[in-house]
């Protein structure tokens, strides 16, 4: 399903002060794309992502996933929409520290259908953690994990309900360069193998280079939107990266 925005405007009002964070964005992202949203701090990247993902519907204009129009959904329908169709990865990981990695991954299942009827959530959680390389840390709690490991748990969680799109707001923002790269590789792999649409926000050019399409936002407008061949730094071999992660 394609994700599209038409005439998307978002104005923040706090008291007298109004900020127009998005001023008329038109955009279509096809199913299976690997998109970077780039821009300087305060340019409106997060706002755009929140509007596209159904986290924020106080916008003017229209956002649609396939035939579903987000602005016409009730709060409950929106919650269901987020549960079923999208996954989220945040810069701050947003894991619950009192839960184990496995419990964090299956958390979405507490609020809805989860991975679907008849799927054992714990089994699925273990599979997902194994897939992101944390098969041996199922019962560790976030404070015992490194930044990269935490973000892997978050990625596994975002996949729990089989989303068609994953939204990532600066997923590498809290990680060092190499760890960030390994997370990006994970996304690339998910995009390639599972055909999950990945939309991520970054302000670091070399991370943006890894996408196959790059959208630049400035002052709430798209000033550039073009396809590109993804460029991966070749100085980070897998073994190297593992070493660093163990060390961290």
């Amino acid at each position: 399903m394609d994700l599209s925005a038409r005439g998307l405007r978002r104005i923040y009002r706090s008291g007298e002060l109004t900020t127009e964070a998005l001023c008329g964005v038109d955009l279509t992202i096809k199913s299976g794309e690997f998109v970077a949203i780039v821009g300087s701090s305060g340019s409106g990247k997060t706002t755009l992502l929140n509007c596209l993902s159904g986290l924020d519907t106080s916008f003017d204009g229209e956002v649609k996933l396939g035939d579903l129009s987000l602005s016409q959904m009730s709060e409950t329908e929106l919650a269901r929409f987020r549960h079923e169709h999208v996954g989220f990865v945040f810069q701050q990981f947003c894991l619950l520290d009192h839960l184990t990695a496995l419990e964090n991954v299956i958390l979405p299942g507490f609020f809805g259908e989860g991975a679907g009827d008849g799927v054992d959530p714990f089994k699925r959680g273990r599979e997902l953690l194994t897939r992101v390389g944390l098969g041996d840390r199922l019962h560790s709690r976030p404070p015992q994990l490194s930044g990269g490991q935490k973000q892997r748990v978050a990625v596994a969680r975002s996949l729990f309900c089989n989303p068609s799109i994953i939204f990532c707001d600066e997923p590498t923002g809290s990680l060092d360069q190499d760890t960030g790269l390994s997370i990006m590789k994970l996304f690339e792999q998910l995009n390639r193998e599972d055909e999950v649409t990945v939309i991520f926000v970054t302000h670091e050019p070399y991370i943006a280079d890894m996408a196959r399409r790059r959208i630049i936002v400035q002052d709430g407008r798209l000033i550039e939107d073009k396809s590109q061949t993804s460029v991966w730094p070749d100085d980070t071999g897998d073994s190297d990266e593992k070493l660093k992660e163990v060390a961290s």
Partner: protein, 487 residues
């Protein structure tokens, strides 16, 4: 959200925020402990006062004329309480049985007591009579509580009581020699009457437990440290008194004598303790009183009862039956009933007063819960935002907060009840060791019944839920986008 997952989420959250929840629950624990303590205390005291002191489930109808101090057959011509009245009361719906009571209408005295008290004593003897079946269950003595002068039919000597032989199908008293003390011709409970020289049985008496309580709790306590014989009086138990015999002189007392006939001396024996016995006196089977009254006060006295005890099927019937007795039959209830109602009301009011205090404590702790939970919601804003992002609805978030409050309420309620019971035991122990014996001193001041546990738990949960209402609404309002970006 399925129940099981929901409760496991709540469990995880409670475990993490243990200290917060404990702090927020303390007020509720204290409030519930107070509520439980005073409710069970009030109930315990009420039970003792109403059931033991006033015997509230038993109605006593008195003759209005007699109650007003007028002679029977006087101004109102009520004619007193007769068998007809008994029948009328028996017809009232809810009445199980009516027992007429009649007092001795002439002076008498009792003497004896050496076996118990160490010396012989004499006192005014006040007694009434009740149908024998009323106290039959309370009697444990070998001498049954019934009219022993009523001719008994029999098949052989075995069927007759002590000192009687079966002659022509009737138990007939044996003749005996009153000077012969060795052979016990009249059996174990019988005795040889000095005047008639035939075997007789003592008059069986039942005594009210109240009398024993008054003696042990007041008279004995008051005289214990005195000089003179009072200090040597023993504390009495029911066992000591059952089987105790003494003499009664009918028709002649320390205060007066009956004009109509010569006095009669007769032996009496205490055969048991009964709530049905008169409180300050002794109670014998009705036929004795009827015969004695006829003899000393004339035929008329034997037809009029002094009061009627009314048993109802259920406790709830007491009030309506009392109402109908007063309104429809124009009869009066003994003031014991009114005093019981007044005492019950007073205790209820005091209990309510303390429960209001408990409710104030609970209200304050509900505010405390509001405060703590609001703080927790603030602290967990990002977490709530995340939950909303991954699919939690507003309602689910609210339910989570409310659920946590309910669990806190359950635990706090249980802890409060435990504390209340503990305090009860402590008070009982202190009371027991510092307060001496008094009439009707109960084993425990408290009465714990299942409904109080239910009340404690529901109240605790209720107040926690009320307290968590505002925080829950706030939690539901958390906007995921703003919460996740930390705004």
């Amino acid at each position: 959200m399925k129940g099981q997952r929901f409760s496991s989420l709540i469990g995880q959250s409670l475990r993490r925020n243990r200290r917060h929840f404990l702090l927020s629950g303390i007020g509720v624990i204290i409030g519930i402990a107070t509520l439980f303590f005073f409710t069970s205390l009030g109930e315990g005291v009420r039970t003792t006062v109403l059931e033991d002191v006033f015997v509230i489930d038993q109605l006593e109808v008195v003759d209005p004329a007699a109650a007003a101090g007028m002679r029977r057959g006087g101004l109102f011509g009520g004619g007193g309480l007769t068998d007809h009245t008994v029948e009328q009361v028996r017809q009232i719906e809810g009445v199980k049985e009516v027992y007429p009571k009649m007092k001795l209408t002439f002076p008498s005295r009792a003497s004896g007591g050496e076996a118990l008290m160490g010396r012989n004593m004499g006192v005014e003897f006040i007694a009434d009579g009740i149908p024998a079946e009323m106290a039959a269950d309370d009697v444990s003595d070998i001498l049954a509580f019934r009219d022993h002068d009523q001719p008994l039919s029999c098949a052989d000597d075995e069927a007759c009581p002590d000192g009687r032989d079966c002659i022509d199908g009737t138990c007939t008293p044996r003749s005996c020699d009153p000077r012969d003390r060795a052979s016990e011709p009249c059996g174990e409970v019988g005795f040889c009457d000095r005047d008639t020289e035939i075997c007789a049985l003592p008059i069986p008496l039942v005594i009210s437990p109240y009398l024993l309580e008054v003696y042990n709790g007041s008279i004995h306590t008051a005289l214990r440290d005195s000089e003179g014989i009072g200090s040597r009086l023993p504390r009495l138990t029911e066992d000591m008194l059952v089987g105790f015999e003494f003499d009664i002189v009918f028709g002649h007392s320390y205060m007066g004598r009956s004009g109509d006939a010569d006095s009669i001396r007769h032996r009496a024996r205490i055969v048991g303790f009964s709530d049905r016995a008169m409180q300050l006196g002794a109670t014998m089977p009705l036929p004795y009183v009827q015969r004695l009254n006829t003899e000393f006060s004339g035929e008329d006295a034997a037809d009029h009862y002094h009061s009627l005890l009314v048993d109802t099927y259920r406790n709830e019937d007491v009030a309506p039956v009392a109402q109908r007795i007063e309104d429809e039959l124009g009869l009066e209830l003994s003031d014991r009933h009114q005093r019981a109602q007044r005492a019950g009301l007073l205790i209820l009011l005091i209990t309510l007063l303390f429960n209001v205090i408990a409710l104030v404590i609970l209200a304050v702790s509900a505010l405390n819960i509001t405060h703590t939970f609001s703080m927790m919601v603030m602290e967990r804003r990002r977490e709530i935002g995340l939950m909303r992002a991954i699919g939690a609805t507003r309602r689910q978030i609210q339910a989570l907060v409310v659920g946590e409050a309910a669990v806190v309420g359950l635990f706090a309620g249980a802890a409060g009840i435990a504390l209340g019971i503990g305090a009860g035991f402590a008070v009982d122990a202190i009371f027991d060791s510092y307060v001496g014996h008094f009439p009707f001193k109960p084993d425990s001041l408290f009465a714990w019944s299942p409904w109080m546990f239910a009340l404690g738990l529901t109240t605790a949960v209720l107040f926690c839920l009320i307290g968590a209402l505002i925080p829950a609404v706030r939690a539901g309002r958390v906007e995921p986008a703003a919460a996740l970006t930390g705004r």
